[in-house]
């Protein structure tokens, strides 16, 4: 853990886990389980509906009708009782109708798509973003400076989030001019020369730019609004340009790691056809529910600090889905540092690394191909708006 984080936040605990496989099993099989249960719900509804036909035929049975004159009172009672099994609030038809919505909800969950609550927020964000005017494009240039651990392969989730914090600090600390818009593309080489990449995406570093006063700093409030609205961003274009310049090839697995705006950008890019093979995303302190749909094979691990309101900016929390595990942490620290600060999430990552929760272990375990590589080479880029 970095000295800075150690000083400010010592521990975090996991308070909730949403989504995921519940045991780190094969996620694809788990998706099929949900779709399979949805199909069983539909089949149940069909079966119950078919049985209403049996009830109807009993009520109209000629042998039964022939006895009406012999015992009219009991005939009437039996006919009404048979009719009640078919229609009415407790009958088969009503029961059949209740299974369809469950099937629909399960299909929606299994598709990782829940549209309703975020729609209003997205419209409002789009309106806000339009006040800034159209995007103007970016320049993405390699930076000769290095951050401490760019060439050190991360061993666990803490190392990954700590390195994200190191890149983030380039825009916040040190001599002027600071490296606003800096990202790191880390190329890992494993056994047999297999290459993977981790792209580190810090969050907003310009909180003050107002509509009509846009400057070169690409990670401004305009980009936050565009991301919530589901629109493409200059930051995203710059990230893809950096990946191309760093030599990331199609088919080589990519892990996008982002904090705040960087996490939103990571989730957005992973859902688009970029030409890169993004297999995993880790977001910390970032809303992700605004991303309407994701590739089925993509896995997202989101860490939200219980006291951090930013992950709720999409209008609702991400409830988790088979392809996304959301872990809520509590650092137990108040008033020491900002709840949104990356140091909180370094402590949170430590809690995830140590967790015995099967869902958490499964989500962190999925990242193991990116951890413990034989070598690492970092390529730092600065993305500026033209």
């Amino acid at each position: 853990m970095s000295e800075r984080s150690e000083l400010l936040v010592r521990h975090a605990r996991i308070v909730d886990v949403l989504g995921g496989t519940g045991g780190g099993g094969v996620v694809e099989a788990w998706w099929d389980e949900l779709h399979g249960y949805a199909a069983a719900c539909v089949s149940t509804a069909d079966q119950l509906t078919a049985w209403t036909g049996v009830s109807a035929s009993l009520a109209e049975d000629t042998a039964l009708a022939a006895t009406a004159a012999l015992a009219p009172a009991t005939y009437l009672a039996a006919s009404l009782a048979i009719g009640a099994t078919r229609s009415g609030p407790r009958g088969l038809l009503a029961r059949a109708a209740s299974w369809g919505p469950i099937a629909g909800a399960l299909h929606a969950v299994a598709s990782g798509f829940d549209e309703v609550e975020g729609a209003v927020v997205r419209r409002a964000a789009a309106l806000g973003a339009s006040l800034y005017g159209p995007e103007s494009g970016t320049t993405t240039v390699p930076v000769l400076a290095q951050v401490a651990d760019s060439d050190v392969p991360p061993r666990d989730l803490v190392d990954v989030i700590e390195h994200l914090e190191e890149v983030d600090l380039l825009a916040r600390e040190g001599p002027e001019p600071r490296l606003d818009g800096a990202i790191d593309v880390q190329t890992l080489t494993g056994a047999g020369g297999v290459r993977r990449h981790i792209v580190y995406l810090p969050g907003t570093d310009d909180m003050t730019t107002l509509p009509g006063h846009r400057d070169a700093d690409v990670r401004d409030m305009d980009e936050n609004l565009r991301l919530i609205a589901g629109e493409p961003t200059d930051y995203g274009r710059g990230v893809l340009d950096a990946m191309r310049q760093a030599g990331v090839r199609r088919g080589e697995p990519v892990l996008l790691v982002g904090h705040s705006q960087g996490g939103m950008e990571a989730a957005a890019l992973a859902s688009e056809r970029t030409g890169f093979t993004v297999t995993d995303v880790v977001t910390v302190g970032a809303p992700t529910a605004q991303v309407a749909s994701r590739p089925r094979r993509l896995h997202v691990l989101s860490i939200d600090n219980a006291g951090d309101a930013v992950p709720l900016a999409a209008g609702r929390p991400d409830r988790g889905s088979p392809g996304q595990v959301t872990v809520e942490i509590d650092t137990g620290e108040t008033g020491v540092v900002d709840e949104h600060d990356l140091s909180r999430y370094v402590a949170g990552a430590e809690a995830l690394d140590a967790s015995n929760d099967p869902t958490v272990r499964g989500a962190v375990g999925r990242l193991s191909p990116f951890l413990g590589a034989e070598s690492a080479r970092g390529a730092l880029f600065q993305i500026d708006r033209r």
Binding site: L48, L58, I82
Partner: protein, 88 residues
């Protein structure tokens, strides 16, 4: 005639059993899913509610079967009464 009515009653009882089997199967299937979290808990709770409703509908089928049995007895009694009357 009353035999045919009792056969209808058996059909209703068999249907009641079948409805209960469906309810049990859907709850068991939901419990076996590896899905976890608040949404999963809410879904399983809804499935249990629907299964309870199904068991209630199964009870309606039992009630219908009992009504058919009562009707069969009433028809039987009416036929015997008619037979006695005919012998007089």
């Amino acid at each position: 005639m009353e035999t045919a009515i009792r056969a209808l009653a058996r059909t209703m009882r068999d249907r009641a059993d079948a409805v209960r089997v469906v309810a049990d199967r859907m709850v068991g299937h939901a419990e076996q899913l590896r899905w976890r979290g608040a949404a999963a808990d809410a879904c399983r709770a809804r499935v249990r509610e629907c299964a309870l409703d199904l068991r209630d509908t199964a009870t309606l089928h039992d009630d219908a079967a009992a009504a058919l049995d009562r009707h069969a007895r009433a028809v039987e009694a009416a036929l015997e009464a008619a037979l006695v009357e005919g012998r007089r």
